[in-house]
């Protein structure tokens, strides 16, 4: 009896709350809100994107919300986009873990008048206005394979360490690495192992790889914690210089190993610029200075960027090595 009374009380409260109508005030009346969604929050890559994004937000005088799942989780990404749609942000900039799934949520946001752009990993074309493309997946795959071939003199055995077996980006890069591998018939991939985005696990995997494949010439890590992990394994095995280490990683995490000669090159792009450009493009889209059909976009101090179709191109992947890695701090 009392339970029923209490349940009715709650239902009453809920209905009272629900009867509030959505806010229809013009977005220009208050500060613009840009919502930036990373693939995972704990990833140093997206943390450095955030730094650039915050700088742009401060320059432009907009509010920045940076939030995402702790580990890559496409379901959680969808939920966050849904929540932002209800919250009523002005523009959502998303790095998509699941292309199809998140597009539904993004289309709903667009239907409500929220602008949508993507960065780092694209959604379906009709779910967003622009894609800030730091490098195409085939561009990344080719750069990795080319650099690996260069370090091995175009022949030898190599192994790849990835994040998790289900990680979408990594799987796409691997596809293009495999395709590019065909141009280097003497380069042979002997193992493809996950490290679960854990530096220590990457180290353990690399140690085992080194002892299993005595002719291994190179370890390529396509997830950022894997590069220092593999480097430490090679160093501890005493094979620094004999087994090359390279991959996708951040300069700061690898400076030490690059200077010691353990890691040869780290490929990436300026992630801070990526975050900065994303926020600038997002704001320009809301304000109307960036429209579909534009062929170039000027992003303040960052310079002018070419737009190919609906892709805003950051540029080519950048190779960090001993000569230039100290110039970067992220």
């Amino acid at each position: 009896m009392k339970k029923i009374a209490l349940l009715l009380l709650f239902a009453g409260l809920a209905l009272a709350g629900c009867s509030k109508s959505p806010d229809t005030s013009a977005p220009g009346a208050k500060k613009l809100t840009v919502a930036l969604l990373p693939k995972s929050k704990g990833n140093a890559y997206f943390i450095s994107c955030r730094i650039g994004a915050e700088k742009a937000a401060a320059d432009l005088g907009v509010d920045l919300i940076f939030d995402g799942p702790t580990d890559t989780d496409p379901a959680k990404q969808n939920e966050i986009v849904d929540n932002w749609t209800n919250l009523g942000v002005d523009v959502i900039a998303a790095a998509c873990e699941n292309k199809e799934g998140i597009s539904t949520a993004l289309r709903k946001a667009q239907a409500k008048g929220i602008k949508v752009i993507t960065y780092d990993a694209d959604a379906q074309a009709d779910a967003r206005s622009f894609f800030v493309n730091q490098a195409t997946p085939d561009g990344i795959g080719n750069a990795l394979m080319d650099e690996a071939a260069r370090l091995c003199d175009k022949s030898g055995e190599y192994a790849i360490i990835t994040a998790t077996l289900t990680a979408a980006n990594q799987n796409e890069w691997k596809k293009y690495i495999d395709e590019r591998n065909a141009s280097f018939p003497d380069m042979k991939l002997v193992a493809f192992r996950p490290c679960d985005d854990d530096k220590d696990k990457a180290q353990a995997e690399a140690t085992a790889l080194l002892s299993t494949y005595p002719n291994l010439k190179l370890i390529m890590s396509i997830c950022s914690p894997g590069v220092p992990g593999a480097a430490e394994a090679v160093k501890q095995a005493g094979k620094a210089g004999k087994v090359k280490v390279m991959g996708l990683g951040l300069p700061n995490e690898n400076k030490r190993y690059v200077h010691e000669g353990v890691t040869d090159s780290v490929i990436l792009w300026n992630t801070q610029d990526l975050g900065n450009l994303t926020v600038q493009a997002a704001v320009a889209l809301v304000k109307g200075t960036l429209k579909p059909g534009d062929t170039s976009f000027t992003a303040g101090k960052l310079g002018t960027f070419a737009i190919k179709g609906d892709n805003i191109l950051l540029g080519k992947p950048f190779i960090f090595n001993k000569g230039n890695i100290d110039q970067f701090d992220f």
Binding site: G42, T70, K199, D200, T207, A208, T212, P228
Partner: protein, 309 residues
């Protein structure tokens, strides 16, 4: 012999695995990689010993992974700010003991179920650490790696330290009164209380000890590389519980030994490198781990049934 039947069975399974490797992948048996593997697993062994103690008391602690991460980051930050290594180690132990004390107070003091308490603390510490560090690495000074010793010496030191801790704990479990109390409380807390033991105090000490050991393990992990990854404790609770259970420590408490935990850990730790050496694809790893755990548990059940009938 039958007293340590389970431990010997696990050792036999490990032996069988090593035999397979010897035949099909002799490259497994090289000194340096095995040394690196052993040094890498030394922290896990220490944590597994602590977990065995807690499970013997008929409780469980699934927050060890988060404790490990927190202690590692704290020790690393201190070292990065030029604190002496000994201070960093001490802080790691104290931090671990404090976190363990929180678990212990809730479980022993308030009589709350340990699985839910440690679930809550696991989520809280892990998310709190993420909130604070945002996934950023801690960069350590050079002198910290291997305590400043040469690599091989450092690795042997860590392995020896882990083994020494395990032996000390095993001896303590057997000879010290507190050790016998763990078994008593795990078998039947009420009977123990009537015998004059204070079960709540015993359980509290188990959690505090677990926390302190986790702190030591975190420090042992920190000195093995020049950076601390705040994610380094992920999956540690599953790993250690599996090792301990496979090794014969009964989840219902009161039974098992640290040697079993050791054997279980060795077996499970060898699976990943064994798969690489045997050229088995990585996506079989979890299924194999799960199968081994189930096998161990089923063997337990069959043995108990046969003993009863």
């Amino acid at each position: 012999m039958s007293r340590y039947f389970r431990e010997w069975s696990v050792a036999a399974a490990l032996g069988a695995l090593l035999l397979v490797l010897a035949v099909f992948a002799p490259a497994f048996f090289q000194a340096q990689p095995l040394l690196s593997l052993a040094a890498g697993e030394a922290p896990t062994l220490v944590v597994a010993c602590g977990m065995a103690l807690v499970i013997i008391c008929r409780e469980i602690d699934i927050s060890v992974g988060s404790q490990f991460s927190v202690c590692g980051v704290c020790a690393g930050l201190l070292a990065a700010h030029h604190a002496p290594t000994a201070v960093a180690l001490l802080v790691a132990i104290l931090a671990g003991a404090a976190l363990g004390a929180i678990n212990g107070a809730l479980v022993a003091g308030l009589r709350l179920p340990s699985i839910v308490v440690t679930l809550a603390t696991m989520i809280t510490w892990r998310e709190g650490l993420n909130w604070w560090r945002q996934g950023e690495f801690v960069y350590l000074p050079d002198r910290l790696q291997w305590f400043g010793l040469a690599q091989a010496t450092g690795q042997w030191t860590l392995i020896a330290a882990a083994l020494a801790l395990m032996v000390a704990l095993a001896v303590g479990l057997r000879r010290l009164a507190l050790g016998r109390f763990f078994y008593a409380v795990g078998t039947d807390a009420e009977a123990a209380r009537l015998a004059g033991i204070r079960p709540q105090l015993v359980k509290f000490s188990a959690f505090v000890l677990m926390g302190a050991l986790t702190g030591v393990a975190a420090m042992m992990n920190v000195v093995q590389s020049p950076q601390v990854d705040p994610k380094s404790g992920t999956g540690l609770e599953l790993k250690t519980i599996a090792a301990v259970v496979v090794g014969g420590v009964a989840i219902s408490g009161g039974r098992g030994s640290l040697w079993g935990a050791f054997a279980g850990l060795l077996l499970l730790a060898c699976i990943s490198p064994a798969l690489i050496h045997l050229h088995i694809e990585a996506y079989w790893e979890k299924a194999i781990q799960g199968a081994i755990i189930l096998l161990a548990v089923v063997a337990d059940g069959v043995r108990t049934r046969r003993a009863k009938s």
